[in-house]
Amino acid sequence: MIWTIALRNVVKNARRSLTTGLAIGVGGLAALLFAGFVTSIWYGVQTSMIQQQGNLQVYRNGYLEFGAANPDEYTIKDWDRVVSLLAADPMLAEELAVITPRIDLAGVAGNAETGNSKTFIGSGVVPAEIDAMSGWDGWQIGQVTPASGLAGGGPDSVIVGVGMARMMGLCGALNVADCSDRPVDAADLAGEEQDFSALVAEESGLADQSLGNDQPQLNLMAATSSGVPNIARVVIEAAEPQAIRAVDNAFVMMHFEQARSLLYGDSQEATALMLQVANPERVDAVKTRVAEVLDQAGLDLGVYHFTEVDPTFDRIFGMFTFMFIVVSAVLAIVIVFTIVNTISMTVVERVKEIGTIRALGFRKGFVRALFLTESVIIGMIGAAIALGSAVVLSNLVNASGLQWTPPSNATPLTVQLMVLDNPVFTAAVVGALVFLAMLAAVLPTFKAANLNIVESLQRA
């Protein structure tokens, strides 16, 4: 009967109930859409990063702490044997989609024609394998990262950042969109001193070597593991934007073998192994197993989740989670005030009814339950409005193909508001709305229950 009375009063005050329900609904809608966005970030940004660097990475112990200062001290020796070791484990063989090595390196790059030179940072990767990684879609969100473009070229080809191309004066030669070279006087160029990497190249006889095409070339100079400068001439396949400007301005991605022979000669060394786990739910189990295998082999290597190596994901997700919490808190306050107001109005209008109910022998708890139920019903109306409109709106937004570029990406992702894709969270938002309705009703219901019976009955 409590539900009957509460429900009929909600219907009786239809306009007020609906206005309150709408306020709750709009608040809930905002929370759900924002949560849908945060959910899409959780899946989308992680997918992006897993496509780029795998879920897990193997490094020499100490690399993450000290390796940057002294990379050659912290390489993985005989990386190919480590790969064989991991691939030989039955569990890992089944779970790992890709195992691929990477070399991180830095040095000086120069272009003989433009006479420009600058520092570069780069990596050496196996093109076919990183392209295989970029097809990963473990959560089936349909997000694609384009292939690196490195696989198309020969073993001497490289990809550079757009900023790098611009600074080297190669925008024109590479046909980079939205990129123009610094204007230079031909006379100036002729009179300029020769770039020093070109100088080194000449000395080692590289300058005369022709790579057999007219694509722009770079001379890359880096220190070998023994400290001796070594140089390689490479062909720029394409310029591609990189997410971080400082990286974009210096980025060179080359074939793994190119980088390896440049730094380590005949020695099979690598900076890291990137491991991609097919099923994202299995990452922790795989990580444990990899650690066991490495440990049993007595190797001085450690395995890390990509978020341990690169805090970008945690920061992005943390930032949006924080924003979500702040927005939700503000919405919650507005919702609570609206409900307090509505239930208080209902109580004031029904003082005499409350007195009557108490006179008939009902305890205070019954009166509280009566108005609490009313508030919960309004909360459920609001939750239904929130959920319904969130589903409709998120479908509209998703269909509109809106794009955004997360801080971790160079290329934009299509905005996919994942409202129903995280059912636990969606249920939590809906539950929170109903809970807020209950919470907000507490004060007015206590006031109602504590009314003086005689005075209530005297009310007109």
């Binding site: 009375i5 009063n9 005499k352 008939l360 305890r363 205070k364 009955l457």
Partner: protein, 247 residues
């Protein structure tokens, strides 16, 4: 509905049996005083009022407006507590019960009929009469049957699905009487039950209460300033200026 009326109740112990002439009163009140403090002035609404309510009888509480009738009824009905004095119902001192115990006691022993009917507007007549039975452990089917039985007894069987807003004032007060009696209380308190009704309807309502009292052996306490409504063979407590006046 007057002549051909057949009581639907089976209270054989009371109906037709010969009750002893002097029954124990169900309610005794002694030296009831109620004072209100307004700013610095103290108002005495009730001063040392004593009396009894006899079992299965109608007691009229009369007196001019503002004399303290409602104050007395609210205390007897356990809606209010006296500033001093004692109230005993069914030999139990109930003058200082907690809010919760008082509510439970009212639920079991006291029914109310109000001046302005006080039905719950969103409930049908049947649901209104069922409502006080929520305090009892009764299956909904039995609850419904009981409500129908009492609505029939007050002559409203055909309107059970109507809302209070869809019937006349006299009919509403009949529903209120059914609601007061459906729990078969020891006593029904009616504070000015006819003040909002015309003379003819008022007489019908008093007659209905009087008849139900006999059928259910319930004590009825009716407060009114209209002495013409007093039925013969009823007890009368006359209050003037907060004190009992001798008849």
């Amino acid at each position: 509905m007057n002549s051909a009326y057949n009581p639907p109740f089976e209270h054989d112990a009371h109906i037709g049996s010969f009750a002893p002439l002097v029954e124990e009163p169900v309610v005794r009140f002694q030296n009831l005083t109620k004072t209100y403090r307004m700013d610095r002035v103290q108002v005495t609404a009730l001063a040392n009022v004593s009396g009894v309510i006899a079992k299965a009888e109608t007691t009229f509480v009369t007196g001019p407006s503002g004399s303290g009738k409602s104050t007395l009824l609210n205390i007897i009905g356990m809606l209010d507590q006296p500033s001093s004095g004692t109230l005993t119902i069914l030999d139990q001192d109930v003058s200082r019960l907690s809010d919760r115990d008082a509510a439970d006691f009212r639920a079991r022993h006291i029914g109310f009929v109000f001046q302005s009917f006080n039905l719950i507007p969103v409930l049908s007549l049947r649901e209104n009469v069922e409502f006080p039975l929520l305090n009892r452990k009764i299956a909904s089917r039995a609850r419904r049957a009981k409500a129908m039985e009492y609505l029939d007894a007050v002559g409203l069987a055909e309107f059970v699905d109507r809302r209070p807003g869809e019937i006349s004032g006299g009919q509403r007060q009949r529903v209120a009487i059914a609601r007061a009696l459906v729990t078969e209380p020891t006593m029904v308190i009616a504070d000015e039950p006819t003040a909002n009704l015309d003379t003819k309807t008022s007489r019908d309502i008093i007659a209905l209460l009087d008849r139900m009292k006999s059928e259910l052996s319930t004590s009825i306490v009716i407060c009114t300033h209209d002495t013409s409504l007093i039925t013969p063979a009823s007890a009368v407590i006359n209050i003037v200026d907060g004190q009992t006046a001798q008849e």
